[in-house]
């Protein structure tokens, strides 16, 4: 029996030359310790597993006593669990556990001493704040949970575990606060996660796309964040979060359009600054979508809108340009997109040079060569800057995409095209629901109480109620300071 257990294991692990089989003779009985050193905490292994075993081997022969102690759980200082299923044992071995195989016994014991390589908790790269916590999630989900539990110290913080992917067996945790969340959302996500059948989930967006199945909207219904304080704040609003091992971002849902335009900085700065910055952000996000289309529509179809002096400057600038305004805009926008993409991929040493060249080439030389006009460069640059003002990249990417559609419509149908396109996008946004929450709440439908935290950010003492967009609890009063 025992021999076949060991043989079965060896057969499954055949070909993995990094698996170690450490045999120890205890009281005359051969035992085998199976583990993969690169994913096991070797110090713990030596100290808490191998040394006691060796001590046991050197002590008075007492095989039944040893077995009894093993059974009672008092043989080792660290916890160990009995397992009967061989496939499970192999799974555990390749997941970083050390498996103890005893001659003649049909069961095995395993020790949870997994130790993966991970980086240290560092600053947030993509969601920067000046005042406020700087920590960001890393790839290890245990560390992420510890960062989260550091902030929320309440028993109502629930973490539900799922294991996704046949080959990756990724740990996925659903986190929420009992009593605040909307049960329908949890039920929907759970159903998807339980029924998920894929090879492997490498990034958290894989899961996001499965949950979003059927919703073909370009707008994001999930919010990604790499900051534990954002996750904590969202959980306390009643949202549900998903953490996945291997991804340093968390997923938050439900989401509204306005929440995608908010950043944690708004809450850490003074409320005047926070409100002002939010309004600027909102204005510029609209500009990022509409400005090129508007400019092209106005200069091509409706020159009566532009004040005369500006009009003469633009007309003079456009004198010798060989392309129509629409073509010019498309060329510039596409070039800008290429610059953006190149900037993300470029290795750091070369980065500086390329950005300088890009700026000089596009900005100066193209204008002087008469390929594009100076006002167009200004419009495209302002649009580019405006699109980065959106704190959450997923919404910014959507706007980048839609900007082209609007540009083409504006260039062919003038202001009518822009109006039609904006209205259709607006209709789509109002109709879209992120897990049952209308996307444009609290603008459409208009909920005035929630405006305390939309474009304005009222001081903390006045934010007494949780936003109705997210919370599912009957009592939506936040706790007030005594």
């Amino acid at each position: 029996m025992a021999a076949s257990v060991l043989d079965a294991i060896k057969e499954q692990l055949h070909g993995s030359s990094d698996a170690v089989y450490q045999s120890i003779n205890i009281h005359g009985q051969p035992c085998m310790l199976i583990y993969i050193p690169s994913i096991v905490d070797t110090l713990s292994l030596q100290e808490f597993v191998a040394s006691p075993l060796k001590a046991e081997a050197n002590a008075e022969p007492d095989w039944p006593g040893f077995l009894k102690r093993l059974d009672h759980g008092s043989a080792f200082a660290i916890p160990y669990i009995k397992v009967y299923d061989i496939d499970r044992a192999v799974e555990l071995a390749v997941s970083g556990n050390a498996v103890l195989c005893i001659e003649g016994m049909p069961f095995l014991y395993y020790f949870e001493i997994t130790h993966y390589q991970k980086r240290a908790v560092s600053e947030s790269q993509n969601e920067l704040v000046v005042i406020g916590p700087q920590e960001a999630f890393i790839e290890d989900v245990a560390t992420n949970l510890s960062l989260l539990r550091h902030i929320i110290k309440h028993a109502d913080l629930k973490t539900k575990h799922f294991s996704i992917g046949k080959y990756t067996k990724t740990d996925v945790y659903l986190v929420y606060i009992e009593g605040l969340y909307k049960p329908e959302i949890l039920a929907e996500i759970e159903e998807v996660l339980v029924n998920l059948n894929m090879d492997g989930a490498l990034g958290i967006s894989y899961i996001a796309e499965h949950v979003k199945q059927g919703k073909f909207s370009p707008f994001p219904v999930f919010q990604y964040t790499e900051r534990p304080d954002s996750v904590a704040a969202s959980l306390m609003e009643g949202r549900v979060g998903i953490l996945q091992d291997g991804t340093p971002s968390a997923l938050l849902t439900p989401v509204t359009f306005m929440s995608l335009l908010q950043s944690s900085e708004d809450y850490y700065q003074s409320f005047y600054a926070g409100s002002w910055i939010r309004m600027v952000r909102f204005l510029f996000s609209i500009i990022a979508l509409v400005l090129p289309a508007f400019y092209v529509a106005v200069t091509t179809f409706h020159s009566q809108i532009v004040p005369s002096d500006l009009l003469l400057t633009i007309a003079a600038a456009r004198e010798n340009i060989p392309f129509s305004a629409l073509t010019e805009a498309l060329i510039m926008e596409l070039t800008f997109e290429a610059l953006r993409e190149a900037g993300t991929r470029i290795p750091k040493p070369v980065g500086q040079t390329v950005s300088i060249i890009g700026g000089i080439v596009i900005g100066q030389a193209a204008v002087q060569a008469g390929i594009v006009s100076a006002p167009m460069v200004i419009v495209v640059s302002i649009t580019g800057i405006a699109s980065y003002i959106i704190p959450h990249l997923e919404l910014g990417l959507t706007f980048r995409l839609l900007r082209f559609v609007l540009l083409v419509l504006g260039g062919t149908m003038g202001l009518l095209g822009v109006i039609v396109a904006v209205f259709i996008i607006y209709g789509h946004l109002v109709h879209l629901k992120s897990f049952g929450t209308p996307y444009m709440q609290p603008i459409a439908p208009l909920i005035l109480e929630d405006w305390k935290d939309t474009l304005l950010r009222v001081p903390n003492p006045f934010m007494t109620r949780r936003s109705s967009s997210f919370t599912g609890s009957k009592n939506d009063r936040r706790q007030r300071p005594k």
Binding site: P307, F423, A444, P445, L446, S468
Partner: protein
């Protein structure tokens, strides 16, 4: 679906604002001259009467939409005829909306563009929005509401510099019952589209709180139309006002001379057109509900595009003979027709009343 009664206030305001602000005021200015305000007030009062009937009709059976329970009171075929009438009216009104927009926007900003092009573009927007359902349309009105109020106040502010306040005494010195009554009836037909609100019945309960909010919306709308009319008169006077096709545009354009303010009219028009789209989409939604009732719920997917296509067809035919359009638009026959349709709640209330009377002696 979270829907409240204040939403109805906002929705009604956005819904009624588009047509009345730009198209009703020139009609009153050319018709009544200095007495327009009397026509507006009378018309508003009469439309409130129709509102009461609409509330009564909506309350006949709470929880069920009018389309479903209407046959109980009018008989199967009577109800069918009225539903068909409402359906045709909605489609016809939408074609008016579309053609108005084409003339207004096209003649001012897009000369040379064939009207069919603009009609199709608008038709696509209306079809897309109408297909989304009443709740979405009401939410969209919510979102547009603040923007619309802001632009209304802004545009009223733009009209103040050139307004000649010395004209104000003229408003009380003129009174001619004949034209006043006629124009009051016209105003009523514009204000009293309450019958379409019967279609929000499943989502919202029609009760007294509902009525209060709608009354408030009516009041605010009357104030806005009065203010718009007064400022148009103070800016243009009745003699020039009669001649000008779209006084609103002229007022914005001539408000200042070379800076951005006087040239902002396309932006204001853009925001106004959102209100117009909501108006037409809701009409088509109501029409599609009627049509689906008549075809017994068959053809759900195609109904909205088909109805929009009909509206565009009518608008296109009108755009080919503009004189016919203007004569129809300004004719009194159309006003009477509108009123006949808008009195639909009255018929039902009467029928219910008669029925209850008949049943009483029997029991």
């Amino acid at each position: 679906m979270r829907t409240t009664n204040w939403q109805i206030f906002r929705f009604s305001l956005v819904y009624f604002n588009s047509q009345t602000s730009i198209f009703l005021i020139p009609v009153i200015v050319s018709g009544s001259g200095y007495q327009g305000w009397i026509s507006i007030l009378f018309g508003s009062a009469m439309s409130v009467v129709l509102l009461f009937f609409m509330i009564k009709a909506g309350k006949l059976k709470t929880g069920d939409s009018w389309i479903d329970f209407g046959s109980q009171f009018m008989g199967k075929w009577g109800h069918r005829v009225l539903v068909l009438l409402l359906l045709c009216w909605c489609v016809y009104y939408t074609s008016y909306d579309i053609e108005n927009f084409v003339l207004f926007f096209g003649s001012n900003y897009m000369r040379g563009t064939p009207p069919l092009f603009i009609q199709l573009a608008i038709g696509i927007v209306i079809a897309y929005t109408a297909a989304k359902g009443a709740a979405t349309i009401i939410y969209m009105a919510d979102g547009v509401f603040l923007l619309l109020i802001a632009t209304t106040f802004f545009s009223l502010y733009l009209f103040l510099p050139n307004a000649n306040f010395q004209m104000l005494p003229a408003f009380i010195h003129y009174f001619d019952p004949g034209t006043t009554i006629k124009d009051a009836v016209t105003v009523t037909s514009w204000f009293a589209e309450w019958v379409v609100l019967l279609f929000v019945a499943p989502e919202l309960k029609i009760n007294y709180s509902f009525m209060k909010k709608v009354l408030l919306a009516e009041f605010v709308l009357t104030v806005l139309v009065l203010a718009g009319w007064a400022l148009t008169m103070l800016n243009f006077g009745p003699h020039l006002g009669k001649d000008v096709q779209y006084p609103y545009l002229d007022m914005v354009r001539s408000s200042s001379h070379d800076d951005i303010m006087g040239n902002l009219d396309p932006i204001l028009i853009g925001i106004w057109s959102a209100s117009m789209f909501i108006h037409s989409s809701f009409m088509i939604y109501a029409a599609s509900k009627c049509a689906l009732y008549l075809t017994k719920q068959k053809g759900k997917k195609l109904m909205v595009p088909f109805l929009v296509f009909c509206s565009i067809l009518i608008a296109y035919l009108y755009s080919r003979s503009i004189t016919r359009y203007y004569s129809d638009f300004n004719s009194f026959l159309v006003v009477i027709l509108w009123l006949v349709v808008e009195c639909i709640p009255v018929y039902y209330t009467m029928a219910a009343f008669i029925k209850s009377r008949i049943n009483k002696p029997a029991s």
